[in-house]
């Protein structure tokens, strides 16, 4: 969900392209793709070889599990709240660190501010590599490297978030009007002056919006990092589940839901305010 905006943007460009392609041609291609999708779907189902009998018996068991969840057991609230705070702290640290790192890297990555095309390409490719590996895998890698606890969580979030922030920051920088840069350059401004006086003020509100979005995503991720041993509330959840204390698990689930949801509401508010100002 963190990439919602990014993706909305790609949809818009996609709709712009829609008007360019002739319609008959499009429909023709569409039919082949649809056919291929159905064939590949059937093929995948056969290959997966799912056990459909288990689907029924599992559904029954699942209903039983859900009934065991009620009423939620809040007796461990001290542990759970401490773990929740830890998750929030991990998310804050990870986000702040990744913002600092990607802020500098983005200027190297964006086409209009990069000192050299090769540098830009290198930074962008590195970022897309970091981004392509899920945060949980980063967490596993860092757990082996530095041991359990919140530190691998912070590192995993920093690395994963930096990967995506570099991309979106660079995109925002590239959207800055070429005229601004041109005007400064013609007055003989240096690279640093162009960035500080021209590019940064133009892109600042977009960058801030991305930071808020990123925190939203990072908090959601930090709540689950504990499931693989990287500290925080996720550990409480998987622990409760594995010891079949479903009523405790539901309470932890509630806390996670409240955390993620309240941050989403706050960030939506902030985004609205920023849009009004812009």
């Amino acid at each position: 969900m963190a990439n919602r905006l990014e993706n909305a943007a790609s949809l818009i460009t996609l709709e712009a392209k829609l008007s360019e392609t002739p319609k008959a041609n499009r429909n023709h291609g569409l039919r082949w793709y649809a056919l291929f999708a159905v064939v590949f779907f059937v093929f995948s189902l056969i290959q997966l070889n799912l056990d459909y009998a288990r689907l029924l018996s599992g559904a029954e068991k699942f209903a039983k599990t859900v009934s065991l969840m009620f009423p939620p057991d809040a007796s461990q609230w001290k542990h759970v709240l401490a773990a929740a705070v830890e998750s929030i702290q991990v998310a804050i640290l990870g986000t702040v660190l990744s913002i600092i790192i990607s802020f500098f890297l983005a200027f190297l990555a964006a086409d209009n501010t990069t000192p050299h095309k090769t540098v830009g390409w290198l930074v962008r490719s590195a970022a897309s590599l970091l981004r392509a590996i899920p945060t949980l895998i980063w967490a596993l890698i860092f757990i082996v490297a530095v041991g359990m606890g919140p530190l691998p969580g912070v590192l995993a979030i920093t690395v994963g978030a930096a990967g995506s922030l570099v991309k979106v920051f660079a995109q925002s920088l590239e959207e800055v009007d070429e005229g601004v840069i041109e005007a400064l350059r013609s007055t003989g401004a240096s690279w640093l002056q162009i960035i500080l006086q021209g590019v940064l003020p133009c892109a600042l509100s977009a960058l801030l919006a991305w930071c808020v979005m990123r925190f939203e995503g990072d908090l959601a991720e930090s709540t689950i990092l504990g499931a693989v041993g990287a500290g925080g509330i996720g550990f409480e959840l998987s622990h409760a589940m594995r010891s079949y204390r479903f009523d405790q698990a539901l309470f932890v689930g509630f806390v996670i839901f409240i955390m993620v949801f309240s941050v989403e509401i706050v960030s939506n508010r902030l985004k609205l305010r920023m849009r009004k100002r812009a």
Binding site: E86, V146, I224
Partner: protein, 263 residues
């Protein structure tokens, strides 16, 4: 606007900025204390991480590749099946969940709440929950991906449905078309491009998520990574991570190409 007013505005803006910065720094310091985090620890952590990445994980064990092809294909199949079923179910549900096409507001609110629940519970938690009833394996992975896909797609589809041009709908209604005729003739043709766009995007998300799902028992590459780490078979792990990388990037490229081609 007088110069004085301008000056005052500038000052309040600067004060606000300083306030926000102080707040962020304060929160970071609080977090650093809470997690007993420090800059040397960060530096050491990145150092250890890098050493682990480049020394323990390298070189990837190519001989383990044949064993990983199966889980890798499972990852792709699970993501695709979840996307296919998910987009059909969500496509049907979203017609009832969008304000413009919903036959009744109560139905709309109920569907939105359901999809919010599906979406806001992280996929790994769905898997942990479902593993207890459905056992380990691909079935659990597919089911949890399906649940999260439906949650995401109902919202995205409904939002696109709300953005369609209502003029066409009005026109058909004025001509005396029935509810289903309006849906079929005015709504669906406008909805098709975003339906495809969001479904492809969902496939990308599923491919990423399926490796996560595997770590807690959902089959696929994530399971191979998790068990490799537990058995200290780091060279196999790096091969699996590289496969994840290849699959994620290949899916991204493919969906981008399809998007450009048919939409």
């Amino acid at each position: 606007m007088s110069a004085e007013q301008l000056e005052r505005m500038k000052r309040t803006k600067r004060d606000q900025l300083i306030l926000v910065l102080v707040l962020i720094v304060g929160l970071s310091v609080w977090s650093a204390f809470g997690t007993s985090f420090s800059l040397p620890a960060l530096w050491g952590g990145f150092g250890d991480g890098a050493r682990f990445l480049f020394v323990d994980l390298m070189p990837p064990d190519i001989s383990g590749l044949p064993d990983l092809i199966g889980p890798a294909l499972d990852t792709i199949y699970m993501s695709f099946v979840a996307m296919f079923i998910g987009s059909i179910i969500a496509g049907a549900l979203s017609i009832f969940a969008a304000a413009t096409t919903s036959p009744h507001p109560v139905l709309q609110v109920a569907l939105r709440a359901f999809s919010a629940m599906f979406r806001n519970i992280p996929v790994i938690i769905w898997t942990i929950l479902l593993v207890a009833s459905f056992g380990l394996g691909n079935l659990v992975g597919t089911l949890s991906l399906l649940i999260v896909s439906i949650g995401m797609l109902v919202r995205c589809f409904a939002e696109s449905l709300e953005e369609i041009d209502m003029g066409q709908v009005e026109a058909l209604r004025a001509a005396g078309a029935s509810y289903w005729q309006v849906i079929g003739q005015a709504v669906l043709p406008q909805f098709l491009p975003s339906f495809i766009g969001w479904s492809l995007y969902n496939l990308e998300i599923n491919v990423r998520a399926s490796t996560i799902v595997g770590m807690v028992g959902g089959g696929g590459l994530g399971f191979a990574i998790q068990s490799g780490i537990k058995l200290f078979q780091y060279k196999d792990v790096s091969m699996a991570v590289i496969l994840v990388l290849v699959i994620v990037l290949a899916t991204e490229m493919l969906t981008n190409r399809i998007r450009r081609r048919i939409i």
